[in-house]
């Protein structure tokens, strides 16, 4: 019976051939390291977010008067609601960490260079989309933490001349964060951002499979065959994608899940401190409120630069340079260790980012 069903599907879809050509015969460079698996971990992390988000959506009420109560009901009354919510909260933060690590790995291995510029740009846009996911999702529980963090972040665009107030008001649906802001953020979080992210993810993965995975400049190098003058699909003689590389990816996913449940068990309030358990009160500003950790560096920078427009412009320039980096750094040399100036600049930049984040936190 089972064989009949299998044959029926095989005749129509040709699964055996698909598995053979796309998994077993598809080979990745010999020198791929564990950092190459982070993209796959990010995809799995997003799937977990989508799944847990769906369960939360069943009970969540997107209204400023009911949102907080509905989230508390999810935490206390809905069977295993606490688990799905904690997975969503912790998962959201871990996903950002995985994406940042993935980005750094791609950068340090020079994988953004020709012909993979579009892969980098689509990855950068995905990171921006994930930040938008985080920003919009942070407000939804309608807690003091989310409310005031959103107030800070939505104030930032007001530093732009002419369009600043318009952008800030468009985001908030008024002069300050209120019910309409919640409705807008909810709509963005569940209806607009998911298809955008899935489309970008699809394009990103398509490019990776179409051009071929980039080989690392470290270790056994030199597998890529010559300069890119026309289109070609990079063929490697390294290891098969399945099971060799796939198992590495599965290993990292298990580590990701173990870390996630470690946080849920032993540090349940690490990403949701006390203010996350207090209902939003627009008339009561908490003394030590701050944005989420990944927005702390730009927030601190904005506080330090005396002119706000200059401050926010520097950040826009930074984002533009980041997104267009493959078109700025067009040298073919991939090994960053042989480019001490660039390495120093990047390490200084990362140290500055960490210092600003730490400064903004304390």
């Amino acid at each position: 019976m089972w064989k009949k069903i299998k044959d029926w599907i095989e005749v129509r879809l040709g699964l055996d051939e698909l598995v053979r050509t796309q998994l077993r015969e598809y080979r990745v460079p010999k020198n791929v390291n564990i950092f190459y698996t982070l993209g796959f971990v990010a995809v799995v992390a997003y799937m977990i977010q989508a799944l847990t988000g769906f369960f939360l959506l069943v009970y969540y009420v997107p209204h400023s008067e009911h949102a907080f109560k509905s989230v508390q009901d999810i935490m206390t009354k809905v069977p295993y609601g606490w688990l799905f919510r904690q997975m969503h909260v912790v998962g959201g933060n871990l996903m950002v960490i995985v994406l940042i690590l993935h980005l750094l790995a791609v950068f340090f291995m020079g994988s953004y260079k020709k012909p993979r510029e579009l892969t980098w740009v689509s990855g950068g846009l995905m990171l921006a989309t994930v930040f938008l996911f985080c920003l919009t999702g942070f407000l939804l529980p309608w807690s003091q933490l989310g409310y005031w963090a959103t107030t800070i972040v939505t104030s930032m665009p007001a530093a732009f001349p002419y369009v600043g107030d318009f952008v800030a008001n468009l985001l908030r649906g008024g002069d300050h964060v209120s019910g309409p802001t919640l409705n807008r953020f909810f709509a963005l979080h569940i209806a607009l951002l998911p298809p955008i992210l899935v489309a970008l993810m699809g394009f990103h993965l398509f490019l990776i499979r179409r051009i071929g995975i980039s080989s690392s400049p470290f270790g056994e190098s030199g597998e890529e065959s010559g300069p890119w003058v026309g289109y070609r699909h990079e063929q490697y003689h390294g290891q098969p994608f399945y099971p060799h590389f796939f198992l590495k990816e599965v290993f990292m996913c298990m580590v990701y899940l173990a870390v996630m449940f470690f946080f849920i068990t032993f540090m349940p309030t690490f990403f949701a401190p006390e203010d996350a358990n207090i209902q939003a009160d627009p008339l009561r500003t908490p003394a030590h409120i701050r944005p989420e950790w990944y927005f702390l560096a730009p927030y601190q920078m904005l506080k330090l630069i005396p002119n706000k427009f200059l401050g926010i412009s520097v950040q826009v320039i930074f984002v533009a340079v980041f997104l267009l980096w493959p078109f700025i750094d067009t040298r073919e040399k991939k090994n960053i260790l042989k480019r001490p100036f660039l390495l120093t600049v990047i390490l200084c930049g990362l140290t500055l980012w960490a210092a600003l984040t730490f400064w903004g936190r304390y």
Partner: protein, 283 residues
Amino acid sequence: MRYILSLLIVLTLAPAAMAGYRETFQREFLSKPWAGGPIVEKSACIECHTSDIMKPAFRTIPDEWQGSWHALNEVSCHDCHGGDPKDTSLAMSHVRGFVGKPKYDGVPGYCGKCHIGIMKTYLESGHGKTLKAAKKGPNCVTCHGSHGIQRATIDIINEQSCSRCHSYERAKVMKQALFLTEKKIGEIRSSLKALKNEGIYTAEDEKAVFSTEAEFRTLFHTIDVNLVKDRTDEFTRKLDNIEKTIQSTFSELKVRKNFSAFLTLVFAGLAVVVALLTATYKE
């Protein structure tokens, strides 16, 4: 590198040329507590009372208030004394509701604007009746203080304080009658804090404790020991119910922790299995 430099110069010059464009944003953004600005809003009362024109005895009032339970709960000068803290010229105008310092026997009515239940029982008590009849005797500030007021505890009833007016014996009996209930309230508060630290929403239970405690505090302002003893059972029952809810939350929390710890182990174990499996696939 020249591309980066030229891009940075071009994109930085334009905003630099427009420096100072958004003063409003600076004012609105940086003046807020969440942007590192001052937490206490500008108050005419504080400005004047901390300035050199004020009598030295009155200059310490803002400091006393800053460390008080009232300050912690955002009860400010004008909430008791009236007036307009945002307008220096009319801060002490009767038109703006300024009432200044109350007379000695007017203190209960002053505090009773907020502490309504306690004022009522106090006025019916021996303390209140004495004040009403003789215009002297203990009023609210005699035991609780004024500007530097702290969260009330059972320790306010002590020999040093009570024996200013009468012997400590009766007060001691009252303190003993209150002791167990007060202790229970303290324990429940600690448990709620522990739950809060675990990320559990405790506001509903906190409200229940607060209202029970407020009712209990109202009761003992009658300074009627027999009444306190008679009604202690009623309060104990209420507190027991709250405690039961808290205990069941702790049990639930334990189940949750065990479950997620189990999942941590499952995935850590799977990671080890996959790592071992990977090792068998060496080419």
